[in-house]
């Protein structure tokens, strides 16, 4: 028990969940065929907002996290007006540039404390542990492990809720509009779909969840500084998403979990770790260019175990 449920494993689970949310946020824009890489910027907005709100305004953490997401959405509304007109790599680089602008602002603003960052951000695990201390005492779990355990549970619930949300959305008229825009913008527009509206919608959702992921990160790391949200972060998120399979929602969680856990398993390889990581990416793309999960795989699973299949993969993704 101790071997599996120790703080280290729980920590990895926590980061996996945050990364799932982050890679889903990349996936959400890919859904409409937009490769937007501003997510590190939105993450940063969410993280700073939530940190400042809890530390300086004393807002309760859940409210602050949601507000972090909302703040990111608000920023996205402004940024989205010029950028969602762009296509392909132009959009990718412009949004990546937006992330850089946010980073430089965070480096220079007073409220973000520049490069020194914000420290002493309330920890989510501790807060949960304190809240449930009586209950944990009964179970004879110390409040720290308990707090972490609770945090994992909460995050898993959040992840499942987001997956459920997006899954339902994809099955609806809105999801069909997304898919149509991704397939052929022009034909979609002439089928009566207001493409700007839906592109913006997916962009805002993406920003919101990136903001939430950022806020969760802030309350996990307890310390944030602008370097945490550099463009590597979003490249990582893109890797998760494409690695797992960027054409299907379940790809993101799968990819995020694999690519979060794998480097931890490979720790002993020391400086060869990155080399192997690189080779693995090249190899996977050569053999499965659409990522691990693709339409066909899902369809096969679907056929073999109707209805169940999708949920199965979900669980795989969450673990």
């Amino acid at each position: 028990m101790d071997e599996i449920l120790n703080g280290y494993v729980l920590q990895v689970v926590v980061f996996s969940c945050i990364n799932i949310i982050l890679s889903l946020s990349v996936y959400m824009t890919l859904c409409t065929g937009q490769m937007s890489l501003g997510n590190a910027g939105f993450m940063s907005v969410g993280a700073y907002t939530s940190a400042i709100l809890t530390m300086q305004v004393g807002l309760p953490m859940p409210a602050a996290i949601v507000l972090g997401g909302i703040m990111a959405t608000a920023v996205a509304l402004v940024v989205g007006i010029p950028t969602t007109r762009l296509r392909g790599m132009y959009l990718a680089i412009a949004t990546l540039g937006f992330g850089e602008v946010v980073r430089v602002l965070a480096l220079n603003l007073k409220i973000t404390n520049g490069a020194l960052g914000l420290s002493g951000i309330p920890s989510m695990a501790n807060t949960l542990g304190d809240l449930a201390s009586d209950f944990l005492d009964v179970l004879d779990i110390d409040s720290q492990t308990g707090g972490q355990l609770l945090m994992c549970l909460v995050l898993i619930i959040v992840v499942v809720a987001i997956l459920w949300f997006w899954h339902r959305l994809e099955e609806s008229r809105i999801g069909r509009a997304f898919a149509a825009i991704k397939a052929d913008e022009h034909a979609a527009e002439l089928s009566g779909i207001p493409i700007v509206y839906y592109k913006m919608m997916s962009f805002l959702f993406s920003a919101f969840f990136a903001g939430v992921a950022g806020a969760l990160f802030a309350h996990t790391a307890n310390f944030i500084s602008p370097t945490d949200f550099s463009w590597h972060k979003v490249v990582d998120a893109l890797l998760y998403c494409v690695f797992g399979g960027s054409n299907v929602m379940w790809g993101s969680p799968l990819g995020a979990v694999i690519l979060t856990v794998l480097p931890e398993l490979l720790r002993d390889l020391a400086e060869y770790r990155d080399m192997l990581y690189g080779i693995m990416l090249v190899g996977l793309m050569a053999f499965r260019p659409d990522g691990i999960l693709s339409y066909d795989v899902l369809k096969k699973l679907h056929r073999r175990r109707p209805a169940r299949a999708v949920q199965e993969t979900a669980k795989e993704g969450d673990r």
Binding site: R168, S172, R173, R176, A187, L190, S191, I193, I195
Partner: protein
């Protein structure tokens, strides 16, 4: 008057693709556009559906100007089209392609979509029923779950028509629907188009080079040449118009 083009001019840089085109389509009509290649027929479709903006002139739909409107707005007003080069959503199933066409008919927002409210479910079921209707009409109901890109060419054309019909148009624009079909298939398509008009009371604006089909199907025809209107009239008038024969039809080489 359902659709009215008033002195429409469209220029691309130096090229004038349409110059001073006027004609109008009445409700319930099958109206044909013919003309040599590059005459500016597809350009007219692009102008009507808002893909391009006119350089001069105006386009009225049901009496109001649709100039400056976005393509999706025009679609929701009731104009749908197919493309000269097929543009389906290749990875979606046949039914899904049609459901995309239903978009403007549906209204559920984010929350009702996520929580599958009763209204949303009813709406979805209705949309599916209607989409299946159209598929059945064009003869694709058996293929509803097939991925669109794996359909043979002829069926893809029909699916485009079904998708366009799913937007519940008052006016349907068909750009060379019979291209790549042989005579028998073309004849069947003619029956289908007439059936659409009769069953769904949709007016049709049709571009096609197959003269047998056009003469057979159209109530009225306009002939475009070098972006200008060359002639307009009933099929018989057009067929015997010497200018049209010279510019477009050519001398019949047989019989």
């Amino acid at each position: 008057m359902l659709l009215e083009l008033q002195h429409v001019v469209k220029r691309f840089g130096g090229v004038t693709a349409s110059s001073d085109i006027s004609f109008s389509v009445e409700e319930g009509q099958i109206y044909g556009i013919i003309g040599p290649n590059g005459a500016g027929k597809t350009t007219l479709f692009n102008l009507i559906t808002g893909v391009y903006q006119v350089s001069e002139g105006d386009i009225l739909f049901q009496g109001t100007s649709i100039e400056g409107k976005k393509p999706h707005e025009i679609t929701s007003l009731g104009i749908a089209r197919t493309f000269q080069n097929i543009r389906l959503f290749p990875q979606m199933t046949v039914l899904e392609n049609c459901l995309v066409g239903c978009h403007t008919q549906l209204h559920s927002g984010i929350w009702s979509s996520v929580f599958h409210t009763k209204g949303q479910r009813q709406e979805e079921r209705k949309a599916q029923r209607q989409a299946m209707d159209f598929l059945k009409f064009v003869g694709l109901d058996q293929d509803a779950d097939t991925i669109a890109s794996s359909l043979p060419y002829g069926k893809q054309r029909k699916l485009e028509i079904a998708r366009a019909m799913s937007t519940h148009p008052k006016l349907l624009l068909l750009d060379e629907p019979a291209a790549g079909m042989n005579d028998s298939e073309t004849a069947a398509l003619g029956t289908l188009i007439r059936g659409l008009r009769d069953t769904y009371h949709v007016s049709i604006l049709l571009i096609e080079h197959d003269m047998n089909l056009m003469m057979d199907l159209c109530d009225r025809l306009v002939v475009i040449n070098f972006g200008k209107k060359l002639a307009e009239g009933t099929p018989t008038e057009i067929q015997n118009n010497p200018a049209v024969i010279e510019a477009y039809l050519g001398k019949e080489d047989e019989e």
